[in-house]
Symmetry: C2
Subunit: 146 residues, 2 copies
């Protein structure tokens, strides 16, 4: 098991990444979460240095919120944490893949994956996943969307 | 089979997307390609309106190159096209997932997936995939990296 890892090793990983995506001046990599068991792509977000560092050292997926401009731990509101089993890095080192065990659902709409809609032949977006939790009971009236 | 689809249906899809990512003024969605059979995440890139339109109407994955600032058809140089079987859209409609049949390999380094490196316990990036083609023989001396 390589994750969680110690801080020195996490810093070595970060040195190898290319945080070339930038939103409001924050250097970022694209972060994709994939279910380690089922293989479903769960969500896509950004991660800055601190988010990657926290992911690697805690074993829980962290991301950078471009709207709130802060690092967030996935599941901190909902309990639907992502325990990271493996991290992959792409050829340009500007995208990372978290292979995770997902508690509950990744999507704030109540689905296992954020990609719960499929493009239909006539150009509609049809829901093709089942809800795994009730968003209202998990997030209540919080405006925060994760 | 919903893809390829006609132009009117493709335009309906595009109207539903939120091209909120911006690189050098170009409005973009994040596009993730996943192997429709094996489930491997193959690559991450951006797509603008034209790239999504061409993907939906031709059935071959197109992306936006932020370096060359043009739409490119994956495999136009290498022959390693991605035939899109299904397109998923995420909850924010700012990321799309192409489920594809990948000819050869997605990565210009010769691997099936661009995510061919795994973070090791000591913070190294170790290669954990086999090469499926020789990049030199496919791309030759072209500087273009796809």
């Amino acid at each position: 098991m390589s994750i969680p890892m110690d801080e020195e090793a996490a810093r070595r990983v970060i040195e190898r990444l290319n945080f070339r995506h930038e939103v409001n001046g924050e250097p970022l990599v694209v972060a994709v979460a994939q279910d380690a068991d089922e293989g479903k792509v769960l969500m896509v977000a950004y991660a800055n240095e601190e988010a990657v560092f926290k992911t690697l050292t805690t074993g829980k997926a962290h991301y950078w919120s471009t709207s709130r401009e802060e690092v967030w731990c996935k599941g901190e509101t909902s309990g639907h944490v992502q325990r990271v089993k493996e991290v992959r890095v792409d050829c340009d080192a500007d995208a990372i893949l978290y292979l995770v065990r997902q508690e509950g659902g990744a999507c704030h709409k109540g689905y296992r994956t954020c990609f719960y809609r499929r493009v239909s032949p006539d150009g509609d977006l049809e829901i093709v996943e089942e809800k795994v939790f009730d968003p209202e009971s998990v997030y209540g009236s919080k405006l925060e969307n994760r």
